[in-house]
């Protein structure tokens, strides 16, 4: 096809090749698409930053010349990558991930107002620069009570708040008013509801909506890994190469006030009335699981979704190997969801 000896191939920035046990994947985080490719092509793409197409063919002893030409040509046609005779002008992206925030987000379970001092926890999180907050109200609280609990967030550094509220019988209108008064609220879900559906705010220029669901959000609610929930950005993928994206810089406070990596995890790190969140967040014990990213976990390390998957499962160690406690339905060795 192309005969230029110096021709190099580059993927566009948004496209990341990932090798799996059976199948490789290209994650296109810009178009929000992922598609399967043979693992051999992933190997070719991994070499592409340092070698010309001809030289890569040579490294495979010219066994796959036609296939390589065909696949790279197809990727160029699909707008996934491009050929260039100026490789030095297109350096590889630096894949390091960094964050200025010690704690990125927090999940708080709230069952009864007296179990722990929510306002104090919110103030502590603010001091840590926490960007996101998810409040899970496990029992019906009135919108008034919720508003009062949220008061300390008003002038905080928090950037977004998600609310999961057990159905209190009030109309969506009340929740819209709550969100109008607190621009940080970006997501409103009413759970344990008799109705299921979506109510959008009728005010023009207001993208707010309330989602009603009959699902119950209970204590230690584990997340289920589903491919439709995979999200991707350059930030997430690069973070996932270094950290466990389901747990990194996240704090959970369960319904009884105990600090955990995630609400469903067994290990507790003390009660918020007795320990400071900052001390816990800075402790090696609490950070241990932040570092156990999917490349270090059995099965996940062979899964092509490992840089997209937000699974926050607890992790157990056996004979120096790490396993996720909540296993997902994906079998990377057969490349099927079971």
């Amino acid at each position: 096809m192309r005969s230029d000896l110096q021709l190099h191939f580059r993927l566009y920035n948004a496209c990341f090749p990932v090798k799996g046990a059976e199948m490789g994947l290209i994650c296109d985080v810009q178009r929000k698409e992922a598609f399967h490719i043979p693992n051999l092509l992933v190997e070719v793409l991994e070499k592409a930053y340092d070698h010309s197409v001809e030289s890569i063919k040579g490294q495979f002893h010219h066994q796959y010349d036609e296939g390589i030409d065909a696949y790279l040509g197809e990727l160029a046609k699909l707008g996934i990558g491009f050929f260039t005779s100026q490789p030095e002008a297109f350096p590889a992206m630096d894949l390091t991930w960094e964050s200025p925030l010690e704690v990125y987000s927090a999940i708080l379970e709230i069952e009864s107002a007296g179990n722990y001092d929510v306002a104090d926890v919110l103030r502590q999180l603010d001091r840590l620069g926490c960007a996101g907050l998810q409040l899970r109200f496990l029992r019906p609280f009135s919108t008034r009570e919720i508003g009062d609990l949220l008061a300390p967030t008003k002038n905080s550094r928090l950037k977004f708040i998600e609310l999961y509220i057990a159905d209190n019988g009030e109309a969506a209108e009340n929740l819209f008013r709550l969100a109008e008064g607190n621009r940080r609220i970006v997501s409103l879900v009413v759970h344990s509801s008799k109705m299921a559906g979506l109510v959008a705010s009728e005010k023009p220029g207001e993208p707010l909506q309330v989602v009603f669901t009959d699902q119950v959000v209970g204590r230690g609610q584990p997340d289920v890994v589903r491919p439709e929930d995979f999200v991707a950005s350059i930030s997430i993928i690069t973070e996932a190469m270094q950290f466990n994206i389901g747990l990194n810089r996240k704090i959970s406070v369960d319904a009884d006030g105990f600090i955990r990596n995630y609400v469903s995890h067994e290990t507790g790190f003390g009660h918020v009335s007795g320990v400071k969140i900052q001390d816990v967040a800075r402790s090696a014990g609490f950070q241990e699981k932040w570092l156990l990213h999917n490349d270090r976990i059995e099965k996940c390390r062979d899964c092509q979704y490992r840089y997209l998957c937000l699974s926050n499962s607890d992790i157990v160690e056996e004979d120096g190997k790490y396993y996720k406690k909540d296993t997902c339905r994906f079998d990377p060795y057969a490349n099927i969801w079971r």
């Binding site: 920035n13 491009f82 030095e88 002008a89 297109f90 350096p91 200025p100 925030l101």
Partner: protein, 334 residues
Amino acid sequence: MSAAIPVRHLVFSTAYDPSTDHVLDWMASMGGQFLRLNTNNQYIEKEDALISAPAPGMEKFRSIWFRKICGLARQDWILGDSLREDRKAFRENLDFFNQYIERERKTFYDYFYRSFQSERILSPYEPIQLNKLDVLRLAAATGMDTPKTLVTRKKDVLERFRAEIPQGVINKSIAEHLFFEGPPPEKNMYSNYTEEITDEIIREMPDTFDFSLFQEKLDKAFEARVFYLDGACYSMAIFSQDNTRTSLDFRRYDKKNPNRLANFRLDERQEAQVHSLMQQLGLNTGSLDLVRTRDGRMVFLEVNPAGQFGMVSQPCNYHLEKRIASFLTAGNER
């Protein structure tokens, strides 16, 4: 005010600007104490009492960042509703009166912003108003490849220019692009954009017209956006040619088929030229637009002193927010 102000870094921005938030998060993590002043709606939120009377001897800041200064927004226009007399005369000259108000404000704000002092200022307030024609000539003098450009009011001059350029000419704004919103309920957004001026268009043009800028059309392989910060270039290639709708002007975004991006590097000589140009303009940061043509030219188009670094930083993972924070907090330790 006599109490000492425990602030070392000053940031002018607007409310709800995620790029500013991100840089400030980094500054906080580096131990930098800052004061953020949001300039929306042409008034300084909250802290105005602290600084509304800048006087000699006021606190010198460790650093100042003029991230964003808001202009007069259409909704801030004076509509004359409260006038008792001559309302009609006023209403018929709304544009004129508001231009006057704008000049009044600008003169005050020029004074106001300049009165904040620091040894370390990122995007100095003063040179932010660049003359694009000056910049183009300076770039050419620096040795950069610039497009053949003509400003004229006469059709015959344009025709002669066109005859010299076989690949065609385009027309674009001499200064800034225009954006405005149409009437409700549709509230369509209008803007002008770069357009090719075909021979047919030229034929239909009147003999004279108002000052207009014409430029050789470039056969684009890709565009390059270079974010310049304190001597270093962070570049990104933008591939938009495949799509006819965006082939002339990147501003006409296409959502379904977005432009593709890649980390990019200018060669050493080109980077040195960028550095030299920015120094001559008195800018320590800014965003430069260049075009790579199919025949291998790297053509400089313009400098935007208040360049959006987020649109380069995220796709190329350049960590510019952190680099800006490091620049601003340098010298943090007294």
